[in-house]
Each structure stands twice: as structure tokens, then as C-alpha cells.
Symmetry: C3
């Protein structure tokens, strides 16, 4: 049987020593742990970005992996650190909303608040709980510790306000909720709200992207609409950067609508 896997998702960047210190703190407790980087480039303290990232990444992992998430603007304050199960997935994180979108897929299970310092580093700093608490706790779990030993159960966790698409007879108004590395704009409009995509008019910032199934179906530079690999309406520029080209990012300022299925 393979050694246990601990994944890391942080906003630490790689120029600073924080990722390295977390890895050392894990290996100090379990030298056999296999550490897997998911990202250290979550934008600083961006909980919405982290929540979307996790919802599109964690579901693809097999059971038994321990996922550590360290995006923690409230480090050292009253916010809790938690260990939760969501379906087959176990996650350690601050209780600050990063699980919001995963909670739409699975109910909260076996959630506990980390409260047992015996599983932490001996000295806990005020500003680096990722290294001093989450890392050693993850390593103890990877050695087989029962999560129930980590602290008392919690029944709810913090959730972020997530903008919902507005639906009326004229169609659907939505928002960009994630801008990816290529400048593709992922929206909060799921594919089931656009049952006949190729005959439905999409408008973003006054422009009408052309419907395609995949990027390569239009010429470079074309603004296209398609469904993302996660099942969301996505606006992209073929071999270009839609976010830059439209001057458009996450949030309500970027005007996005999908015409009602009756029109056209």
C-alpha cells in the first residue's frame, strides 16, 4: 500500500519560505508522507478564488487523500481551524468560507474544530498556523489518527455569499466568478440553464461571443462562449486573453446575460 498523500493549497507564493516550512513541519511528524502541491498561487487572501479552485480540483481526487488549505487572512484571531469530510474527501482549513462551493456537492460530515494542542507544534506563533497547527495535524491524520481526537465536533461552517444567476422571462443575468490563468472567464451560469446553447444569444460587456464546443473551433482572436470543463458558461478568446481584451474580471461590474430560450 502506497504512503499517504497530503496536498497543499496556499496563497504563499514561492519566493517566501512559508511553503517550505509547512513541508518540513509535515515531514517532522510523518517522514513518509507524500506531499503534493496543488497551488501556492492562490491570490493573497482571496477566499472566493480559493473556494472556486477547491470546487474544481478536490472532486477529482481519490478517497484517502488529506487536503490542507492555507488561505487565512484571519490567522491568530477567533476564527477556527477545522477538519471536515465532504463526501470521500478530507480537508483541513481555516473556517473562513473556502469550503463554500464544495458544500454544494457534499454535506458536512465528521467536522471538528482543532483544539488539541498535543497534535500541534510545541510553540504556536500568532501568524503562521499553517506551519504550527495544520501541517502537524495533517501529518498525524496521515499516520492514522482518528479525526475525532482533534477536537469537538462542529455542526456548521462559515459560508461565503455567492452571487446567484438571476432568471426571468428575458433570460439569465450572471456574473464572472473566476478568471483562469489563460484569462478565460468562468461564470456562475451552469449548463442546464442554457439548454440550447448554439441558438442562444450571450452578451458580455456589450459583445456577443460566438458559441463553440471547444476553443479550436474558431479563429485565433475570436471571442467565444462555451461550457467549461467544470460545466459552467465560459467566455474565452481563442489563443488570447478574454479578461484583458474585455477589461472584465470577477464581479458584478462585468455585464453578462444570456437571452431567454424563446428569443432568436
Amino acid at each position: 500500500v502506497a504512503d499517504p498523500i497530503i496536498t497543499l493549497t496556499t496563497d504563499f507564493g514561492e519566493d517566501s519560505p512559508y511553503v517550505a516550512a509547512v513541508k518540513g513541519a509535515i515531514l517532522t511528524v510523518n517522514p513518509a508522507a507524500r506531499i503534493l502541491d496543488l497551488s501556492h498561487q492562490i491570490p493573497a487572501q482571496d477566499l472566493h478564488h480559493a473556494a472556486f479552485f477547491l470546487a474544481e480540483a478536490i472532486p477529482f481526487f481519490p478517497p484517502g487523500v488529506i487536503h490542507v488549505v492555507i488561505v487565512d487572512p484571519g490567522v491568530g484571531t477567533e476564527r477556527n481551524l477545522i477538519s471536515v469530510e465532504l463526501g470521500p474527501h478530507r480537508i483541513l482549513s481555516p473556517d473562513n468560507g473556502v469550503l463554500t462551493l464544495l458544500l454544494r456537492k457534499w454535506p458536512l460530515e465528521r467536522a471538528v474544530r482543532l483544539a488539541e494542542p498535543r497534535y500541534w507544534r510545541e510553540t504556536v506563533s500568532a501568524t503562521f498556523h499553517g506551519r504550527d497547527i495544520l501541517a502537524p495535524v495533517a501529518a498525524h491524520l496521515s499516520l492514522g489518527l482518528d479525526p475525532a481526537q482533534l477536537g469537538p465536533p462542529v455542526s456548521t461552517v462559515v459560508e461565503l455569499p455567492i452571487p446567484q444567476p438571476a432568471i426571468d422571462s428575458s433570460g439569465v443575468r450572471g456574473q464572472v466568478v473566476f478568471v483562469d490563468h489563460f484569462g478565460n472567464l468562468i461564470t456562475n451560469i451552469p449548463s442546464h440553464l442554457v439548454p440550447s446553447p448554439f441558438t442562444t444569444e450571450v452578451t458580455i460587456q456589450g459583445q456577443q461571443p460566438r458559441w463553440v464546443r471547444t476553443y479550436g473551433e474558431a479563429e485565433p482572436g475570436t471571442l467565444v462562449a462555451l461550457f467549461s470543463s467544470g460545466g459552467w458558461l465560459e467566455i474565452a478568446m481563442v489563443q488570447g486573453n478574454a479578461a484583458q481584451s474585455l477589461g472584465c474580471g470577477r464581479g458584478a461590474a462585468c455585464q453578462l446575460s444570456v437571452a431567454g430560450q424563446a428569443c432568436k
Copy 2:
């Protein structure tokens, strides 16, 4: 015997969830696979950059490693996905030219087109074949699957047009083909075309760099010519950035010549 290694080379960046999803998809099929990041910072959709990167990296690996390359502007279109052997190296990639420079070192062997969905994820998206096809196929290979099971053989693959140095009695005209992280300019002029480097005049953008064996042989700020660790004529600025300083990048716009061996 050590667990099998699967390497990843992508243009996904690390702010997006794509790298993580690929890693999860691999581990879902083979939880014992050792995943090794080569790069996720290939410039977006830049096949020439990827081809050079692979030619300078893959040859240093031992046999038995499975290399997955996901730089795939044509995802979801007619382009093939392939599994190939080049010397002792096995690579999975889109058939889009990323293997061009490796093919100068080894002939194409045991090349097949991926055509057997039984080795893919159950649902295959139109825009993320890295996660849905390449990742699970790599994991199956790491479990010992015979590549011949993946699909029918192919006898040729796509090659990129690569600029060749022009040689005449006055010398050699070449091009920058790669700009590295330090702003060093790697050219397409191999060392054997410059048999007497220290007595040969190099000109780039009207300037004559000084020949050195290694960077530290000249003062900081000096423009130097040397042979790269891969055996190419390289133009560098000591403890500086030659690309920025010369305003010079990949391609024909950057004027580069090496005087004939007769002239000084």
C-alpha cells in the same frame, strides 16, 4: 523497486485548478504514482517554447519515467493525442509539434494514437483532455499497461518549422530560439559551427558580446557570448537580463550573426 514516476509539463499556471485536477485524475487510477512537476509555466499555448523546454529537459531523465505534456491549443479538435517512445523516454502529448526538437535526437518509436476510451475518464469534456484522457492513460501505463493497447500505431507526427542557421562564406546568421528565466538568449547556432569561439566575432543587435566560458568571467553588466549548458551559442548579460537590455526576443527580428572563422 520504487513506485513509477509521472512528470507533468503544462501551460496551466498555478493559480487555476487545472494542475490539481490532473494530479487527482492520475491518482484516482494509480494512487501509488509519484507525480513530479517539470513546469506549469510554459507560456500559454507556446508550442515552440514547449518543444525547446522538452529537448533540454527530457534527455536527463532515466528510462521508465512517463512524461505527460499538456500544451494544447487544439484541445477538442481533430488533432490527435499520442503516446510515443523517443529513445528510452516515453511521452504522452497532443500531436501538435511539441516533440519536434526531441525528434532530432531519437527516431519515433512505438507511437500510437490514443483511441481506447476504456482508459479515459468516463466523461470526457471538450476542453480538458489533459485531465480526462492524458492523466488516466499515464496512470494506466504506470500500472504496466502495454502502450499498444492504447490505440492504433501512427508513423509520423506533426513537426514545427524550426529556423535553421544560414551559413555562407561571411559566417553564420542565426536566431534566438529561447529566452530563459534569466533573460539569457539561447540561439539555434550549435557549438560545432563556432569551432574557435574566442577569436570569432559575434554580433547581436549591433553589439559585440565578449566571449567567456561562464558568466562569472566578466564583470556584472557585461554582455557576453558563451555556449549554453545545452551546447548552443548563448548571449547573456552578467548578473543582468540580456533580453531586456537588448530589447531582443525569440525570432528573426533579433539580428544575430557569427563571423566566418577566417575573419577575426
Copy 3:
């Protein structure tokens, strides 16, 4: 017993093939080595950054890990490559000062100069000793090679000049020595020089940050002073970037002082 771990800390970035080539060179000698990335984003040739990075990262690792550091502006010149022990930690690096701050924690032990080509790649380039010497040497050590076999002992290593805080009756004048990924400014003033922090006035670039224990104790946008997770006076902007906001980086240009404990 788990396979041996080799960590990598470099200034190579990830767009270039250098990290990948180092990994391949390690695995060619020891295919079972577990390679762990600490950072490939050390700013190019920045020895002070690397020295601070290592001092804040290496101490958190367990014994038995082999740390390879490749920040090497003098590659190919007379500078040595060394293998050293510092407390329980083994490090391979150029002898260029990157160990300076670690040497304040542990004395130099079992230090040798790499001089035995039998443990190197067969061909050694002039510009890439990380790939051609450090990588295979690390892999041989991970297979159990006695470091004494690598070359002759050395009794001292290069140390960088590190600015010390100036202490007089009016207080302490210090410097920023590290700017982290969040723009937090880490100084060279240790916590023991500020025994009563909350009643001590700190001044940086003419501004007086507010003392907090951790970031979340002040409103977003507040300039705060606190002790870093490594025990240094740190200046931060809550959910912001202090370096950008103050126009302040590493070095003497950024005016920093802490009032004497008698005042206020």
C-alpha cells in the same frame, strides 16, 4: 523506512528547463529519491534572499533530508561547491554565502569541498553545476554515500555581510532584510530587543505602525507592527502590501527605528 528526500531551492523559475533537468539528473542516479520543491522563485542570483529563505525554512525539517541549494552567480568560476552539516541538516550548495544566517544557529560540521568527479555527471558544463554536480552528488548521498568521500574537508565558508541593528540610548535602528510574498517587511530586529512591544514606538519611513499580535487584530489597510513567525520585528499592512504602500524594500534606504524602552 521511507525513501530518502532531496529538497530543491533555486532561482531557476519554472518557465526554463533547468529545474526539470536537475530532477532528471537526480533520478538517473537514485530513481527512488523523493524530490521536494522548496522554491524555484528565489529572485535571480539574490544570495541575501536565499540566505534568509533557508534560515526560515530548513530548521523545520527533520534530520536525514538532503537540501540542495542552487543560487549560483559564480557558476564555473573558482568558487567551491560544498556539502555541509548544520546541526541535523545536510546542505549542498555553492560556497557563496547562502548559508550565512543558518550559521548563526549551528556551527559548521563535516564540511567538504566537492572534488571527486566520480560522483558527478560524466560531462560537466561550465554553466550548470546544479545539474552536473550538485544533483548527482545529492543522489549519491541519498543512496548512503559517506560525505567524506566527496572531497577534502573545509574549515570555513563564505559569509555575507549582514546588517546589524544599531543600538543606543535613543533606541534601535534596523533594516528591512526580507520582503515576503505578501509585501510584509521582515526586519533584522529580533523580538528580544523589543521587550515591551505594545508601549514601544516603531517608525518606518516616517509612519508609526500600530502594534498588533496578528494581522486580523486591525482593520484592512492598517499599517501594523508585529513579530514575524520567525521572531523578527515585521511591518505589514492588513490585507494589503506594506512594501508597495511604503515604497520600501530591503536595505538601508528604508528608514526604520524603534524607540528606546525608556521613552513613552
